[in-house]
């Protein structure tokens, strides 16, 4: 049986007919020549105009027991994602096959200076629209379909394309924007306005590969064994309050910042409204999306140091602030006043990554697990210690971030793994 007829058989089977809301069915259009022209009523509800969707949001929060795993080689030696995949698969109980994803750093050595856009298309129309924007605003060095292969649970995958871009010089000068700002404005424009198109990652030498399935399925689907990166962030999802769809999988990315999250942000709507004032568009139907935009705003646009950015996301309690010495107290008070709406309220453990550094941090009550491990030039972060021990049975050091505390690993000199709490850094 060939792929096309097998697919037809699936589409017409009773199993799927009884589950019209199967999120995996979205965007079967545009996968090469296997195109479906009609959508089920549920899909239409879910993927109607983006502005309507914002008005009647189908997902405001998500409670989950996801699995997180991150691996970084502090010497920037590139490795396959195989070990990270084994580790995240060891925590299979934490995910339920409704989402998984990978962010690889250093995976495009031939295009290190070009912005790599990974775009998910639900239909051909979206692709035409997006490519029109890209041709107009960028110099496109290469545009190609991301190589995939058939894998379990990925029968109804949307189409994935990647573009290596440089901002069009004349336009960039005209707008007097930094290249990063220029790219972000296009990402938000496309995500916010082009129906059926979602930019999954937009950094230099970074790529996010994600979708519906278990981590192993997605690694198989995206042929991840063909890539090598010095840092891999992985996530296995267990969505309970929001839909498990291809765009809702983690990691979430903007430029070179990627975020994988386990937990629930009760403050999602407050955070989202605040970020929308700064031009960010939240379109992925998942609370975790705001973390990546919040960190982008704080770290890149407002150039706030990492420890203070984390103090915005997981702010110290007022009585802790009151007991600080005068200048610290004033600083932290100002931060809470200015960025109160970026406080992430709810349980979380988060792995965030930028080029050359990986950060793990937990909420200020520590309601989700996170463990770190150091072994030689590798640093690992994981929801469970056993996942780290699977690929590195002996560890030089095990670190467990406490409430509101972060552990940070940096490649650049001074190369270090450190515990970071507000206004305080300690090497481990």
């Amino acid at each position: 049986m060939d792929w096309a007829s097998r697919k037809n058989k699936f589409s017409s089977s009773n199993t799927l007919a009884r589950q019209p809301a199967n999120p995996q069915k979205i965007g079967t259009q545009c996968r090469g020549h296997h195109r479906r022209t009609r959508r089920s009523p549920d899909e239409i509800t879910m993927f109607q105009h983006k502005d309507q969707r914002t008005a009647s949001r189908i997902c405001e929060k998500s409670i989950s027991s996801c699995a997180l795993f991150g691996l970084i080689n502090l010497e920037r030696r590139r490795v396959t994602c195989n070990e990270a995949l084994r580790a995240i698969s060891c925590m299979s109980e934490r995910g339920n096959g409704l989402g998984a994803g990978f962010a690889g750093y250093g995976i495009y050595p031939h295009f290190t200076d070009a912005y790599a856009l990974h775009v998910m298309y639900l239909d051909d129309k979206a692709k035409r629209k997006v490519e029109k924007v890209l041709m107009r605003d960028f110099q496109v060095l290469l545009g190609e379909e991301i190589p995939t292969r058939r894998a379990r649970s990925t029968l109804h995958a949307p189409a994935f394309w990647r573009y290596f871009l440089e901002p069009a010089r004349s336009k960039l000068q005209e707008e007097e924007a930094s290249p990063d700002e220029y790219v972000v404005s296009r990402v938000m424009k496309i995500n916010g306005e082009v129906e059926g198109a979602y930019i999954l990652s937009s950094g230099k030498d970074v790529g996010v590969f994600k979708g519906v399935g278990f981590p192993r399925d997605l690694a198989e689907f995206f042929r991840l064994e063909e890539y090598r990166g010095y840092m891999w962030i992985c996530h296995a999802r267990f969505p309970t309050n929001t839909v498990g769809w291809w765009g809702g999988a983690h990691p979430f990315n903007l430029l070179d910042l990627s975020v994988a999250h386990n937990g629930e942000l009760s403050s999602y709507d407050v955070n989202r409204r605040y970020l929308e004032m700064w031009g960010y568009k939240c379109v992925m139907h998942t609370d975790s999306e705001v973390i990546s935009y919040a960190l982008d705003l704080l770290l890149r646009r407002h150039a706030i140091p990492m420890d203070l950015a984390l103090a915005v996301l997981a702010p110290p309690y007022w009585d802790e602030i009151d007991s600080m010495k005068c200048e610290d107290r004033d600083l932290l008070t100002a931060l809470r006043r200015v960025y109160g709406e970026l406080a992430m309220i709810g349980p979380f453990s988060i792995i965030a990554a930028r080029h050359g550094e990986m950060i793990g941090f937990v909420d200020r009550k520590k309601l989700r697990p996170l463990v770190g491990g150091v072994r030689g030039e590798f640093f690992y972060l994981s929801s469970e210690e056993s996942a780290i021990r699977l690929i590195s049975p002996t560890l030089d050091n095990v670190v467990r971030p406490r409430a509101g505390e972060a552990v940070i690993a940096r490649c650049e000199a001074p190369r270090a793994v450190a515990m970071l709490s507000t206004l305080n850094q300690k090497e481990v």
Binding site: M91, E93, P369, E384, S386, R389, R402, A403, M419
Partner: protein, 263 residues
């Protein structure tokens, strides 16, 4: 062919009388625990598990007494609901160790993750190094059943949260590079029964708890538990080095802390 028949010829499972040796590499927790229940039903009373990595609920559901040695990193909810079994871990335990255990013993030669001793109803847990957050959350006692947790190192915040009974002893023994390991905040938040003894640290306690020095009677109890702790981990007995004013005792000031909250 069932799991046992496939493991035995390869030497991964050896059963000799009431003693069994099992290599747990790659086994799913359901397979591992089903095998343990089967061995228990066949009269095996001592099991040594090697290469344990991430398997959950080890020891759960056994009907008869069993001594279980775990080498590796057991998964979440180690010894959940156990009723008289004894578990000895050579490695670190993850979250939920001793969840709702009814009776028995868990000895961890390493650290435990968060919510160890969650809703524990009886038995004892000894941890050589550190405990994570919410140690002994909602543990309780009734009649003759009184759960006890002894931690050699430090404990995380919310120690004894909603505690309704039993005893937690945190010794703060380890010379930590990171001194903040032993300064838990919100100790005994919502506590309305039981007692927490802590050594050598400043207490950031929840509301509705009393923080006092220890009496002779408390010290007698502490000494006997410290002796047990040192015996379990083969450490030099230094019980007499413990002086009474190093300890503080945290007890609830009322058995109904939230009475009147919604009036």
């Amino acid at each position: 062919m069932d799991l046992r028949e496939s493991l035995e010829p390869r030497g991964r499972l050896q059963v000799d009388g009431n003693v069994a040796l099992l290599d747990a590499t790659g086994l799913h927790y359901r397979e591992l625990n089903a095998l343990m229940r089967r061995l228990s039903a066949e009269g095996v009373e001592n099991v040594e598990l090697h290469n344990v990595n991430g398997q959950r609920y080890i020891g759960t559901g056994l009907k008869r007494p069993m001594n279980i040695i775990v080498r590796g990193t057991p998964g979440n909810d180690l010894g959940m609901f156990i009723n008289g079994q004894r578990i000895f871990v050579y490695g670190n335990a993850q979250d939920g160790c001793g969840n709702t255990m009814n009776d028995g013993l868990i000895v961890v030669h390493g650290s435990v993750g968060d919510v160890a001793g969650y809703a524990m109803r009886g038995g004892r847990i000894f941890v050589r190094d550190d405990a994570g957050f919410r140690l002994g959350i909602h543990m309780k006692e009734y009649g003759g059943k009184k759960p006890i947790i002894v931690v050699g190192g430090g404990a995380g915040d919310f120690l004894g949260e909603y505690m309704a009974g039993g005893l937690i002893l945190v010794l703060g023994l380890k010379e930590e590079k990171n001194e903040c390991v032993h300064s838990p905040k919100f100790v005994g938040v919502g506590m309305h029964g039981g007692v927490i003894y802590m050594r050598g640290c400043t207490i950031h306690a929840g509301k509705n708890v009393l923080v006092e020095g220890v009496e002779d009677e408390d010290l007698k109890l502490i000494r006997s538990l410290v002796e047990d702790y040192f015996n379990h981990f083969n450490l030099d007995l230094r019980v007499n080095d413990f002086i009474s004013d190093e300890f503080v005792k945290v007890t609830p000031s009322t058995s109904r802390p939230y009475m009147g909250l919604y009036r």
